[in-house]
Every structure is written in C-alpha cells, then in structure tokens.
Amino acid sequence: MVEHTVKAFDEDITRLRGLIAEMGGLAEVAIQQSLQALVQGDEELASEVVKRDAKLDALETEVDAMAVRILALRAPMADDLREIVAALKIGGVVERIGDYAKNIAKRVGRIEGRSKFEPLTLLPAMGEVAAEMVHDVLTAYAARDPVMAREVIERDDKVDAFYDSIFRNLVSHMVENPATISSAAQLLFIARNLERIGDHATNVAEMVHYSATGAYPDDIER
C-alpha cells in the first residue's frame, strides 16, 4: 500500500491497528483459558481470566480515544475513513468478546460433578471453533482481506450447529437428571456465550469487509 505523504498519519494508523491486534490477542487467550479452566475445574485460572479483562477494557478506551483523535486531526477520507470507523466498532466488539470470555470464567466455580457431564466435552470443541473464528478474523483485519473475512462469516453456521446440539443434549440431560439442572444451566449459558462470541466475530468480519471494500457482505443476513 502506498504510504501517505504525511508520515505521521501512517504512524497513527499503524498504532491503531496495533491496539486492535493486541485486543484480539488478549480476547483469544481469554476464550481459550476460560474453557481450559472450565474443563480442568481450575478456579485460579478462571479468576486470572476475570482480572485480565480489565486490560481489555482499558485498551478499548484507548482505541476510542485514538480513533476520535485521528478523525479530528487528519480528516481521513475514503479507505482511511472506513478503516478508522471500522477500528472504532471492532474495538467495541472485541471488548464484548472479552466480556463473554470473562463471563464463562466466572461460571467455572458454579459447576459440580463435571466428570459426569457429557456435554462438557463438546464445549471445548465449540470453543475452539469460536476462538479460531476470532483469530482468523483478526488475521483478516491485519491483512485487510475481505475474502478471508467472508470465509469466517460462513463458519458461524458451525458454531450455531454446535450450540443447537449442545442445547438439545443439555436439555435431555436435565430432563433425565433433574438434580443437575443448576450446573446444566451454567453450561447452557456458557454455550450461549460461545455462540454469541461467534456472532461477534461475524460482526468483526463484516467491518473488515466494509473497511476493505466499502460494502457489506450483502448475501449474509445481519
């Protein structure tokens, strides 16, 4: 990409993108570690995840401030403008992804008798898909690649499919073992969070597509 005549402008944009990348990395780790804590019943790890979410919040504030500053001082046009607007929205979305991961970590302590739960083994797989979506969409962001972004959007179906099957599984489990309802409910919420993470990754993909091409992927329902 040809550089701007005013080098400081390029530096500003690079810093902004760097912040987004950092946020993405943190969110990914949060997802993985929260699921790890869930499977292993590691409450210490879970509380670390919760604590580290504050960092993500701080980064989002920084992204906001930086984006507004660039808008005011540089009066960006065309693709630069789309890039800044996209960065603003992506920052907010990644922060929410982090919040969902935190939420998952919070529920770790409320689950009892994990070895008995069959659906427990499904969740990591679902989480992996979701985490991969997040990873890939941020790679697409870094590469300004709309095709990759589109591909991530399509993967959301897998996450939704996972969610449907876990839901049915848990419901039938609850019906058969009413004593496990409260733990099962937690797992339901966790699955719901992962499904929401997938949706949010889709949002990010749409913003990446918009930033790169100026249009939203039109054959996907928003």
């Binding site: 040809v2 550089e3 701007h4 005549t5 005013v6 402008f9 009066a75 960006p76 046009m77 065309a78 693709d79 630069d80 403008l81 789309r82 100026g214 249009a215």
Partner: protein, 278 residues
C-alpha cells in the same frame, strides 16, 4: 446503510438532507462536454473529457496543481479565447447549443455563464457601479429605477446588501477580501446567468469569509448551476453534490460527492484524496 430515525438532533436531519440533495431528480444537464481536448500550442492540457453539469447541483472539480481543472473551467465560458495559443476541440453544449460554434456570440455566452475568480477583482468603481455595469452593457434595465432594483436584488442574493446598503457609492476596492468576493459574486448574478463558474473562490480568504461564501453557494444552488474548482478537498466535500477528479488533463472519476469521498472507484482518486498522492 440504514439512517437512524431515533435521533432528532439537527445534525442527523442535516446529514439526511445533504444526502437527499445528492439524489434529487434532475432535468437535462445544463452543460454537456463531450470529448473535449484543450491545447496550449502543442501541449495538450485537457484530454478527452466527458462531463455533465446540472443546474440542480454544485459540481466540484478537484485535482492536483496543473491537472487542468482551471483550464477546463475556463473552456466552459470560452475565457481561453483570450489566450492566443489556446485551442479547444470536441463539443461543449449549453442547453444543447455548441458554444464553440461559429455562430455563438461570446459576449452573450459569458452573460449566461458567469465567472468568479480566485483573487477578488472588483472594478475600481463604486459598489453600485460594479453591480450595475453588467446590466448596463447588456441593456437589461430600462431606467435608473430598474437598475436600482437589480442592484439591490443582486446584493441581497449575495448576502451583501445589509453590509453595504448605506454606502453604495464607496469604492468596491475598499471592502474586505470576503466582501469583495461576495461583491464579485453579486456582480456575476446581476446579469442573471444560468451557470456560475468559480475558480478557487475562497483560496485568498480567511476561514470565516470562506464559510460565508460556502453558505452563499449553498443558497444559490438550484437557481444557478455552480461549478467550483477547489484545492481543498474538505471544501469540495462540504459544498458540492457532484465531484470530478482531474489528473494530468484527464477526468479520472466523476460521481456523487459522498461516494467519491467514502468509496471512490478509481485508485488514483483514492490516492489523491487520502494524501497518498506523490
């Protein structure tokens, strides 16, 4: 993109209005240029330009220095005729008539297609005489009373009446820069043109005077077809509904202003407006 109706803020409705301005119904284009080349001697300054100018829109010409936008602007009212080595080929039509046809009266053409210049150039006469000169030489007024009415109307339309109504006999050159430029606009309006061409009208003015002129342009939009050449992309974005990007004598892209500035089709356009040019 969905426009939110939830906000009643003036900004939202203004944004909506400006978008509407770009999309209103138009009649036939007021001026039509097809395959226009402009030569200065052997040098080709404008190459194969096709463009339409509508009365309903303000059209902005943007582009780097030396890209030919001013040259093309001057071709629209045959001001290039004053340069001996200038030659124009192709057709430029005003209401369907070729303005370079041999039967076209240049004097009348310039009364229909007026021009405002970069440096305000009021005549060294009184304010009244500046405005009255055009109608006088074209015989547009029957008597002094008519002339007075015309002068007042032009000055009102240009937003200058309140500031000068008590000193119409003062010299036009005694006004401030911004007032002088509005005087020149009023002078152009006085002959009741159909199109007004503006060649970087604000580049010699301070921001407040610039804002007043931009507001004036917005008010005049629709009544006169306005074409404005500007170095400032922000100004082009603020003021126009159609934008044309010129580069090395070619018309690279021409479209809705909001499209050009959010998602231009041509890479050259994008490079220029994002400051990647050069």
């Amino acid at each position: 993109m969905v426009m939110s109706e939830a906000t009643d803020s003036p900004l939202a409705s203004q944004a909506q209005k400006s978008l509407e301005h770009e999309n209103i119904e138009t009649g036939e284009p007021k001026m039509r240029a097809r395959d226009v080349d402009v030569y200065y001697g052997q040098k080709k300054a404008i190459d194969g330009v096709n463009i339409d100018v509508f009365t309903e829109f303000v059209t902005a010409f943007i582009g780097p220095s030396g890209c030919g936008k001013s040259t093309f602007l001057r071709a629209l009212n045959r001001m290039n005729d004053t340069i001996p080595s200038a030659r124009v080929t192709g057709t430029i039509e005003l209401d369907g008539e070729d303005i370079y046809a041999s039967g076209m009266d240049v004097v009348q053409l310039r009364a229909r297609v007026g021009m405002v210049f970069q440096k305000p150039n009021p005549f060294p006469k009184s304010i009244y005489e500046n405005i009255a000169y055009g109608p006088k030489i074209h015989g547009l007024a029957e008597n002094k009373a008519d002339l007075d009415v015309m002068v007042e109307k032009s000055l009102r339309r240009a937003g200058l009446w309140e500031e000068v109504k008590d000193r119409l006999d003062d010299s036009g050159t005694a006004l401030s820069g911004g007032q002088q430029q509005r005087l020149c606009i009023a002078r152009a309006i006085a002959v009741d043109p159909e199109v007004i061409l503006m060649d970087e009208p604000c580049s010699a003015l301070d921001p407040i005077a610039t804002a007043k002129i931009e507001e004036l342009i917005d008010e005049l939009r629709g009544r006169y077809g306005i074409v404005i050449v500007t170095h400032s992309m922000q100004q082009a974005a603020r003021v126009s509904q159609r934008t044309a990007f010129f580069h090395l004598g070619h018309l690279v892209e021409y479209g809705h202003t909001s499209d050009i500035f959010t998602n231009p089709a041509e890479k050259r356009t994008q490079d220029y407006i994002t400051g990647r040019y050069g």
